[in-house]
Symmetry: C2
Subunit: 199 residues, 2 copies
DNA sequence: CGACACATGTAACACGTTACATGATTTG
DNA sequence: CAAATCATGTAACGTGTTACATGTGTCG
């Protein structure tokens, strides 16, 4: 639902046409999330289907404009007013991978962690470099601020990921030092047997 | 692609049936990402379609088992061997929202930031409480470790998010103190006019 | 002229997700 | 008996994403 609302927000500034929306979207989120132009049109179609936007005539140059409807403004308002739910966060592939790596026998967990760490470090460097450029190019426009904030979120996130990976590693050696698993427990399929409710 | 691989990893321990997979998946990721049983079956169907798993007979109780194929093992191997790409991270709704809030006139940016902060703080408390329970219940099983790591990732992530939100706020007051936008620049649609390549 | 940016759109697919249908078995 | 758990599956939908088709205008 992010692109939908993103385009809706852009249209709230006034009628726009498809290609323009893509340009403006990318000006704010930059190279991290390149937006396929086609998707703008499909999304506009869906927004129109849901009555959140409506065609708003054509340019003298043939540009097809769209404008937000009242329902669209309401929707947008409520989007800004309500927080992004983090109590049910989207499934994170890395977390799932680690959870599986730790559980399934025969996986080089440390290898997985270190491989990911290398990659995340690299990503962090890229972001940091980009941030330098962003600050240098900053002309005080709001788009520049948006782009900078997005970049910094990526940086904060990536740093947290790296810290977590390090934490995982220490947890792993911690476990390795403790008494080994009781034999046979690993291979047991452990059929779900009439478990009682925990509530 | 996370659930696909997750189930594949679970099946790598030996043949399992659908309902069992759901139970084992949730034992590792817990209450954060409840997995609808139906999805297990649809995903199994797609895995079979792609030749990564194959039916493996039935139980005396009528349980329909699936097993990983060679192709499945190869796929799984390469999944563990390659890092989750963070250079092109999935679009983050919060980042997009903030980018739009900062850009579109008439949005109470500070309100958005603070509302989100409240919510994220709440989420963080929930996770921390859960972590306490997880540690208390920890019987040294690998599943408990997995669940703990997943929880800690959520904690690290949420902490980073809160820090970022605070950072945003300080950036905002920083900007507010600076010379205001040159007039008219905000409302200008700024058609994409024959822009030259930046490369 | 050829490459490239501008511009609009469609078709098809993947994955995740929910809702529903159905039935056996257990437990209070 | 009723409710809950165990268990399998299907139908349908939504969003995101890519690939493709098509055409105009500009610049070297």
């Amino acid at each position: 639902m992010s692109i939908r609302h993103g385009l809706l927000a852009l249209l709230d500034q006034g009628p726009r046409y498809g290609y323009q929306l893509r340009t403006e979207f990318e000006a704010r989120t930059g190279a991290t999330w390149p937006l396929n132009v086609g998707q703008v049109y499909t999304t506009l179609g869906r927004l129109e289907r849901d009555g959140l936007v409506a065609p708003h005539g054509e340019d003298e140059e043939g540009h097809v404009y769209y404008a937000v409807t009242d329902a669209g403004r309401t929707e947008l308002r409520s989007w800004f007013d309500s927080p992004v739910l983090r109590t049910t966060p989207p499934r994170d592939e890395l977390a799932i991978k680690l959870a599986m790596a730790v559980t399934v026998p025969g996986v080089d967990v440390t290898g997985v962690v270190q491989g990911q760490r290398r990659h995340s470090m690299k990503a962090l460097q890229d972001y940091t470099r980009l941030k330098g450029q962003a600050i240098a190019a900053d002309a005080g426009r709001q788009e520049d601020l948006a782009w900078l904030l997005v970049l910094e979120q990526l940086i904060f996130q990536t740093e947290a990921e790296i810290r977590w990976l390090d934490h995982c590693e220490s947890r792993l050696v911690q476990r390795a030092a403790e008494p080994p698993e009781p034999p046979g427990a690993t291979e047991a399929p452990a059929k779900p047997k009439r478990r009682r409710s925990l509530l």
